[in-house]
Symmetry: C2
Subunit: 223 residues, 2 copies
Amino acid sequence: MTSEQVEPGRVERKRGRRIQEILRTAAELFGERGYDGANLEDVAQRLDVTKGSLYYYFASKDELVTAAIETLGKEWTERLERLSEARDGSPADRLRALIREHVDIAVREYPGVLRLYLVPRNWPEPQRQRIEALRREHNALFRRVVEEGVASGDFTVASVETTLRCMHAAMSQAPLWCSHKKGAALERALDELADALMMLVGVWPESGEPGAGAVRAPRPSRS
Amino acid sequence: MTSEQVEPGRVERKRGRRIQEILRTAAELFGERGYDGANLEDVAQRLDVTKGSLYYYFASKDELVTAAIETLGKEWTERLERLSEARDGSPADRLRALIREHVDIAVREYPGVLRLYLVPRNWPEPQRQRIEALRREHNALFRRVVEEGVASGDFTVASVETTLRCMHAAMSQAPLWCSHKKGAALERALDELADALMMLVGVWPESGEPGAGAVRAPRPSRS
DNA sequence: ACAAACTTTGACTCCTCGGTCAAGACCGCG
DNA sequence: CGCGGTCTTGACCGAGGAGTCAAAGTTTGT
């Protein structure tokens, strides 16, 4: 009786945490193996429970995966938004920071999850749409900075949209080629990636200061 | 008796053509849906036969898909190689031509097939390896031109490898964002993509001549 | 301690899909 | 025509995975 209308409530909170746990694990696995490749049995196993238990919280595989995309996507977007609200610094610095944050999240924190972005093929239509929407949200944050840079003359691009797409494509693939690196090597790889991507907007890495020990290709004088 | 040791032979040739047909269709479907997502029933249906018939030519799904990757990959590589043998023109022109050829093949001729490249996840190990090898072959062709350009001072890059990866990533995604376009719009999209990617090596589109009507973002004077 | 609510289990069903195969259709040739 | 080789069919099997559920286990409130 007493628990007819409690706010959060201990039980509710516990339930919420459990759901978060499940979502995280599920996102990880679905990111790694794709919609068809990942099965609930394995998700359950990673959580040390049985499949049936998942169905207590989610009505279907679809519902689970939808929720997973939603939750992680939101967190991701928030982090990017927080970063992109800081309006100090040159467009170049800000774009670079965004790029770094994006790949950092992808490569370090949610191994596999960014792959959600890749080829929405296979995903059932509603999920595909949601992933696409997420991509657009993130893209919008990048677009803002790029457009500012273009307007201020800091950046040069042939087409903003195309540039953004290339940037996004490269960032999406990054986890694939970085996942095995760590420590300083990882750091260097991510820096190189950022350097390369900045060139898409016409900003070359400062040839004067080789940065964090970045390995550079022979750079002939162009005077 | 008469057909104990004939060269090609009418029947043989017919068989060969059939196999090619199957491979092409299979590659298309596997490219679209991935290894798990595509089933043989559907491949068969696209060919207006039944599943059992495929097993007359191939022992298993794996064998089919392996052969498909092999065949298409070979054709693809050959086309790129042919193009990259032409040694006339500036590195910029040659790189641009390579990029165009690569995305042309991807977007126009094998809709979906380039996606083989994307996230080798899900593919059984042997296939994954083969796809990776293919990627490396293609990459080598691009690397040659990029390195030449760097050596001659036409290009500037922070890291050749990273630049190549970004280029490849963008080209791989291209079919996803271009597949619905056609005619002049497609042409423009591909040109823009090439423009954008050339910036990765420090070559900006000539602002003087807007090329094939490319839509350009505001391009402030930079002195 | 007891009951009620909440959570987990594991066995079960159903269905899809890779793979098999005997039977027959088709095709070219004497 | 009819014979031999080539190809296709459709019914079938078995594995694996989504989804169900009654029963048992755990937690919470009184």
